[in-house]
């Protein structure tokens, strides 16, 4: 399959079967007669009562006991082949004549991407992982028709070896507190009805009809919600400043320019449940007094763009977006802008310049975008995750929200738990949970018996946190205290095969490419730091390099124009702080303890373990490996370019890196 927008449409089209799913594509042409407005459009909802009636009708039309096969169709599972699995289910259900008894729903990301394609069979909640098209006939015959569990498709606990049948019992899910991601596994993101059935747009109705804009702002302030983009600014205060700022029109913007490498919760939220983000934006616009909104989304996320576009269209057709929303007299509409692949455009002022059709260079900080933002008008920018929290706070009350989290950080946060960890995927946890709980209890620890070394949080602005701090409670303030930051929520686990100097170099290289170059401290400070890191990794480090890096770090932190430069030294300073011995090994001993930096390592073959299978010799691009069949092989160090192909190829662990 491909991820081109047009093909995503084709994919969606082919996924349609029942009338329930069909109406979304036709603008409601397939809606039950009493919901229809005569012609071809759905009836615009004119009051909370009409929304309630629609909800009741939709709920009544669904049988909660009916078998529903949900197939995760997020980007991760698409890459693992869920499309073919979906097709196979449709064919098999048809072939066995079960079409009337079984629903098939393609949903957004379930979060457990590494196990994809993921299939959950409701109402029981049976969890199958790595499902292949060839498994499908058996799943339908055995599980769907006869209620038998297929052992080999079950999740196996990495430590206990126990096989787990139900999704709710898989530790990866059981130990999470899912609020934002709670509905992802149940909603077809292209169906607004799926969202409405689960209480969608109730918060909007409540805000528009029972709350003054100031009361909405007050509720958000009291909830303690802080910006999920990373900086953690109090959302309610931002809204209030924007509402009070003189000037019209005011703009409301959703930041979906998720540029932090290693973080993809915004992608999954927009792809999997775009209406909850949209509902949050409409409520925010009402509170702020805005009628124009934008979603600024990365062009690297074509499925998120498509699903958001479909959501806007569907919401408009139901009168939930556009003029006179829900008959309240409030007008608000949203446009989508695709980013151009520039990391800096996640910064608020740069993002607004980009929306204006300019290069994304940040402005000076004394100009506050809530006063003078897009087109110099008051503009309120929040992250996808921030907007997605809003409907929950309005529905369940700020008191409920403050019951989750720590003193300074309320609610849940979604992290993308990736890197050297067993259960990679998206985890939503209450603020204040420890790193150890996330990485070892939910994440299942380090794969292949490896040893934990560090966890990197906060993307290129964040830092690496060592094992001694695994019991740190995770919230905005604690992470900052140890020299890292929350950032957008990337959590990259590293083991003893990860070189911390190389990681610092990796981030500096990233930042050098992404620095817009407008201010000298950032442009030059990053480039000079990178030069130093390059020479350390190349085995040419000099005494005093560590001190030089620290000095350059101070320059970046103190004098850069925007947060990109001010935080650029974090990856360097935090690794020096906690892994100074690795820097020293590189500089003084000309040694890379993790076996990563090419200039400082050699590959060799352990004659005891080598079986003489010749696999490595055949793959070696340099033909540097020689040896007879069934006899130990040898690497010619003069020819070896340390590409690591032999290490990846060897099935016997005979290739040694030192």
């Amino acid at each position: 399959m491909t991820n081109e927008p047009t093909d995503v449409f084709a994919l969606m089209d082919s996924d349609l079967t029942d009338s329930d799913e069909h109406r979304r594509r036709t603008g409601g042409a397939g809606v039950d007669s009493d919901l229809r407005l005569g012609g071809d459009g759905v009836k615009k909802l004119r009051s909370p009562q009409e929304l309630e009636h629609l909800q009741a009708t939709l709920v009544a039309a669904r049988d909660p006991e009916k078998v529903c096969i949900t197939i995760c169709s997020g980007t991760g599972c698409l890459a693992s082949g869920c499309k073919q699995v979906t097709d196979a289910f449709r064919e098999e259900i048809e072939r066995q004549g079960l079409a009337d008894q079984v629903d098939i729903r393609t949903t957004g990301c379930h979060g457990f991407c590494e196990r994809g394609p993921v299939v959950v069979i409701h109402p029981q909640g049976i969890f199958y992982q790595h499902v292949k098209p060839k498994d499908v006939p058996e799943v339908v015959t055995e599980t769907v028709a006869n209620g038998n569990i297929i052992d080999r498709l079950l999740y196996v606990h990495p430590q206990t070896g126990e096989k787990i049948v139900y999704e709710r019992d898989v530790p990866f899910y059981r130990l999470q507190t899912r609020v934002i991601l709670a509905d992802n596994g149940f909603i077809d993101p292209t169906s607004i009805e799926d969202y409405i059935v689960r209480g969608g747009y109730n918060a909007l109705a409540r805000a528009l009809y029972t709350m003054q804009p100031e009361e909405v702002i007050d509720a958000i302030k009291r909830s303690g919600l802080r910006g999920r983009g990373g900086a953690g600014f109090p959302t309610g205060r931002k809204w209030e400043s924007c509402r009070n700022a003189p000037g019209e029109p005011k703009y409301v913007i959703c930041n979906a320019d998720e540029g932090d490498p290693g973080a993809y919760m915004n992608r999954s939220t927009l792809e999997g449940n775009p209406h909850c983000v949209l509902e949050g934006m409409i409520i925010g616009a009402y509170a702020i007094g805005s009628h124009d909104g934008y979603v600024y989304v990365r062009h690297e996320y074509p499925l998120a763009v498509e699903n958001t576009a479909l959501a806007l269209e569907a919401a408009r057709s139901y009168g939930l977006l556009g003029t006179d929303i829900l008959g309240s007299g409030f007008d608000f509409d949203v446009r989508i802008a695709r980013g151009g692949g520039a990391f800096i455009c996640g910064e608020s002022s740069a993002l607004m310049r980009s929306l204006e059709g300019d290069v994304g260079e940040p402005g000076a900080k004394y100009v506050r975008s809530v006063e003078r933002g897009l087109w110099d008008k008051p503009s309120n920018l929040n992250n996808v995750g921030t907007w997605a929290n809003v409907p929950h706070i309005i529905n369940r009350g700020w008191e409920w929200y403050t019951s989750i989290g720590t003193d300074g950080s309320k609610g849940t946060k979604i992290f993308s738990l990736v890197g050297k960890v067993n259960n990679t995927g998206l985890v939503e946890v209450p603020m204040g949970i420890t790193l150890r709980e996330i990485i070892f209890d939910i994440g299942g620890g380090i794969p292949d018996g490896g040893k934990f070394k560090a966890v990197q949080t906060g993307g290129p602005s964040g830092g690496c946190i060592p094992e001694s701090m695994l019991d740190l409670p995770v919230d905005f303030d604690e992470l900052t205290k140890v020299g890292s930051m929350m950032g957008s929520g990337g959590m990259i686990v590293m083991d003893e095969r990860t070189c911390m100097v190389d990681v610092a170099r990796y981030f500096l290289n990233f930042l050098r490419e992404e620095s817009c170059g407008k201010c000298s401290p950032c442009r030059e400070g990053i480039a000079r730091s990178l030069e130093v890191l390059d020479r350390i990794c190349d085995g040419e480090g000099q005494p005093g390099d560590i001190a030089l890096l620290e000095e350059l770090g101070e320059l970046l932190e103190g004098f850069s124009l925007c947060a990109l430069g001010r935080t650029a030294a974090n990856p360097v300073l935090s690794t020096i702080r906690y892994f100074r011995d690795e820097y020293e090994a590189h500089i003084h001993d000309r040694r890379c303890p993790a076996g990563v930096c090419k200039a400082l390592i050699t590959y060799s073959i352990d004659p005891e373990k080598c079986t003489g299978c010749t696999a490595c010799a055949r793959q070696c691009p340099q033909e540097a490996i020689s040896g007879e069949k069934k006899e130990a092989h040898v690497i010619d160090q003069d020819l070896c370019i340390r590409c690591g192909v032999c290490l990846d190829t060897c099935k016997f662990g005979a290739v040694v890196v030192e």
Binding site: T2, A79, P261, H299, E300, G341, V359, V418, Y506, F510
Partner: protein, 174 residues
């Protein structure tokens, strides 16, 4: 649609009617220039200079501004790209799982560096900072199709398969 033929003698390398349609879709708003450039690139795979000049004239913005946008944003290419577009993800999760080795293997196999196109216009090799498919890392995307948990050897096989197809052979991998 009535078209005004550009009075500049330019190699458009693209049908003027398509450019006009894109301009109309964005209501010929100068502020929509980034979206317009994206749509142009979606059509012809890169931004031909003639098209950029034409857009500047039609939208009444300096050509230098169009050029600065086209070079500022990574998504844009000023050079024609190969038949197959290969993206190697350089996100952090992919990096710690060995993305560098994969990129180097592809560079060796195709004989070009990241950011380049081979002389037969068959492959363009690019890196991307994160594709948001981190759980599957390292990730390589070939013509929009995601390949997860890659190794150097696996990515070389992918390229070889495309090379063989390019030669008109029908050698299918498993």
């Amino acid at each position: 649609m009535a078209l005004s033929v550009p009075h500049m003698e330019l190699e458009m390398e693209m049908d003027v009617a398509i450019v006009e349609r894109i301009l109309d879709r964005h209501e010929r708003a100068p502020s929509a220039i980034i979206a317009i450039l994206q749509d142009v690139q979606d059509e012809v795979n890169y931004l031909p200079e003639g098209v950029m000049r034409y857009l500047a004239e039609q939208l009444d913005i300096p050509p230098s501004k169009v050029f600065s946008l086209a070079t500022f944003y990574r998504a844009f290419s000023l050079e024609p790209r190969g038949k197959h577009l290969i993206h190697v993800c350089k996100g952090t999760a992919c990096h710690v799982r060995g993305a560098v080795k994969i990129l180097e293997a592809l560079e060796r196999e195709i004989g070009i560096q990241a950011g380049e196109t081979d002389e037969h216009m068959l492959f363009t090799l690019e890196t991307v900072n994160c594709l948001g498919a981190c759980a599957l890392g390292p990730v390589v995307v070939v013509d929009g199709e995601y390949h997860g948990q890659m190794t150097g050897a696996k990515s070389v096989r992918l390229v070889k398969k495309l090379q063989d197809n390019g030669k008109g052979q029908t050698k299918d991998d498993e």
